[in-house]
Amino acid sequence: MNYRSQLVAAWLGIAATLIMFIGLWPLMHFLPPLKPGLGQAELAAIYRGNATGIITGGILQMLACSIFMLYFSALALQLKRMEAAPLWTYTLLLTSVLGFVPVLVAEMLFSAAAYRPDRPDEIIQAFSDLGFFLFVGPALPGAMQMLSVAFAVLGDRNAEPVFPRWVGYFSVWTAVLALPGAVVTLFKAGPFAWNGVLAFWVAAIAFGLWINVTFWATRRALLIQMKSSAA
């Protein structure tokens, strides 16, 4: 069986999170995200001053998105074992793409903002706004991803559940924490703006925790499968 490749795919989830972090922090300098209230000229100066960093960071975002797909596939395979009809498996697959396509588009918008330093400030600002909306905003597909794992885990009728049940409750909790990210378009400052405590930091940490916990559960389930197939 291909348990070993599934194990590699599971580890790729952790790798993707790290790559995303590296892209965001040392390269793009988007941790913390640029303030929505920043003046046009100031904002444009940031893109002009760090064009290479933003563009290479963007490429890393794309890399992270791409390998996240392998991770979500590995996760979906575990979900499929929990379900009689693959309802939540399909939902996880659909929402995983739906949640990460905007990240790809966002990365391209950041790159477009940085690509030509001679662009008018106003255009750079528009690209940047749209970029942050797409990067932080798609919290609802993200929450739906977490919820589909939750429902699959809690509906698992196997004598020996694939994931421990608390992983299901944990996923519901992270989904709730991720929700405030959705409202970033309504605010320019405060906890719900795209650099806010709730919309960005709490949601980002919830996502990071969720990836790590589901990784742990996937790895554990795989190790059990490997052991029972060897026996």
Binding site: Y90, E122, L130, P138, P141, V183
Partner: protein
């Protein structure tokens, strides 16, 4: 069994449509869509005067798209029951995302147009155009999505088919009708522009009919399978 869950997911289809309608009609005022020929000044005035409606409506579009994913997953589960090899199921899943990611991107672009009233007229108009093109113009993946269900239904050769066969023909019909939206970029006026009777309304009604009929058929299939699974 998770039949009750499946029933809930089936209901998410019509619920998503109600949310979509509410957001477009009451909040964003884009039902009917703004005329492409609207003068720049008039167009930007709408975004500047009603930013909150546009932004909250956009949020609801994201919500509707996210819960649609559970509905589509449910449809895919039914399709998988029809097929020996899940070819059309996979076509349906992939095209579902291809058709709906653009709603999320469009929603963010609408929001970006409304986010800063101080943006120049030209820029707001450009963002608005882009949003409508994404929103109405992504018609072909939608057609593929609808037609895929049709082929799966017609390919179902079991004695007691999962869906009635006429649903398959209706799906194909709706898919053909939805396709003229693809061409909106060619027109600024007339029935095939993005607010046109034929590009927008026929496609919107076709999608509405498709969704409701498939909801009905999925619900019927779930209820019919209930006693069999209990026994």
């Amino acid at each position: 069994m998770n039949l009750r869950t499946q029933l809930v997911c089936a209901w998410l289809g019509p619920i998503g449509t109600v949310i979509l309608f509410f957001a477009m009609f009451f909040l964003m005022g884009i039902l009917p869509p703004f005329r492409p020929s609207l003068a720049q000044g008039e167009l930007v005035a709408i975004y500047r005067q009603h930013p909150i409606g546009m932004l909250t409506g956009g949020l609801l579009l994201m919500l509707a798209t996210s819960i649609y994913m559970a509905f589509f997953a449910l449809v895919a589960v039914q399709m998988k029951r029809m097929e020996k090899t899940p070819f059309w199921t996979y076509v349906f899943l992939t095209s579902s995302i291809l058709a709906f990611y653009s709603v999320i991107v469009a929603e963010m672009v609408f929001s970006a147009a409304a986010y800063r009233p101080e943006r120049s007229d030209m820029l707001i108009q450009a963002l608005s155009d882009l949003a409508f093109i994404l929103y109405v113009g992504t018609a072909l993946p939608g057609s593929v999505q609808m037609v895929a269900v049709g082929f799966a239904v017609l390919g179902d050769d079991r004695a007691d088919p999962v869906y009635p066969r006429w649903v398959g023909y209706l799906d194909i019909w709706a898919g053909i009708l939805a396709s003229p939206g693809t061409l909106i970029c060619l027109f600024k006026l007339g029935p095939f522009a993005w607010n046109g009777a034929l590009a927008f309304w026929v496609a919107a009604v076709a999608f509405g009919i498709w969704l409701n009929v498939n909801f009905w058929a999925a619900r019927r299939a779930i209820l019919r399978s209930a006693p069999a699974q209990r026994g």
